[in-house]
Amino acid sequence: MKSLADLKKIRDAAQKKVTMRGKNDGTRVLVGMATCGISAGARPVMNKFVELITEKNLDTVTVTPVGCIGECSIEPIVEVLVGEQRTTYCRVDEKVAERIFTEHIIGGKVVEDNIIGKFRL
């Protein structure tokens, strides 16, 4: 069982990090999590991002569930916000999520295959 002692360890480590971090100009990942997104498979996608970010210990990247933007047929939709730049990905599965993470969030290069413009209806 994951114990309270483990949680305290995580707390202590996080408290140390906060003092070192300073201003946070990090990357934001938004995952569409309305009925359409959930039924298209948004939950495992979001979970994948959480896993990848913690694995790599990237404390400047946040993941947030958001609502529906009205393009239900091309869900799961993921938006990546880096500073002023917003990239919208559609039909994201766990594999694509992994690519977005390594190529875009870490590598800084947009994954062209899944950006929303390529899937015009």
């Binding site: 949680l7 995580i10 906060v18």
Partner: protein, 184 residues
């Protein structure tokens, strides 16, 4: 949706949108009564009588981006398929409570699935409602309360992903343990 925990995620997003600060999710499995019940109780804005009457209608939604709202209708269908039912009580400004009942051993009852992922995502919501998750298997109980975790965390945010992973593991193991104990 092939997991009940996906429905729970979907339904709880409504609580979040209704500005709830506390969402309680209670799962009860009873082999004696052959029932599997899910209760979701929030302290959000609640609904008036007129809205409440229309929520199970798939062509009703509060959303402006599209014209259908399938969340509750799908959950209701899942319950009725396995010889169960879904009821909602709500009072304006007080909150909303939903009860969904299934036959435990019904072949059409979907498994609960990864409830720990559902709770992790709910905690990552920008609105940040607290979550109490109670899972009862006959006489055994597992409880998770995000307020208790916050107390331990002091100034560290609950949305720290290392914390989220800890919560996920804690819930997963907690449920596994009560199921194991039950079969002994």
């Amino acid at each position: 949706m092939n997991e009940l925990s996906l429905h729970i995620l979907d339904i709880c997003q409504n609580s979040t949108k209704a500005n709830a600060s506390l969402i309680s999710i209670i799962i009860e499995e009873s082999t004696k009564k052959n029932t599997f019940t899910i209760d979701i109780i929030d302290n959000g804005d609640g609904m008036d009588k007129e809205t409440l009457e229309r929520v199970t209608d798939p062509f009703f939604t509060t959303r402006t981006t599209r014209k259908v709202g399938l969340g509750i209708s799908l959950f209701k269908m899942a319950a009725e398929q396995s010889n169960g039912f879904l009821t909602i009580l709500s009072e304006k400004t007080k909150g909303t409570s939903l009860k969904c009942m299934f036959e435990l051993n019904n072949i059409d009852r979907a498994p609960l699935g990864k409830i720990e992922e559902t709770i992790a995502i709910l905690l990552l919501n920008a609105e940040g409602a607290d979550i109490v998750y109670k899972h009862v298997v006959n006489d055994l109980i597992y409880i998770f309360d995000s307020r208790e975790v916050k107390e331990v965390l002091e100034d560290v945010p609950l949305t720290d992903l290392n914390v989220i992973v800890w919560i996920k593991d804690n819930i997963k193991e907690g449920i596994l343990n009560i199921h194991k104990e039950e079969t002994l």
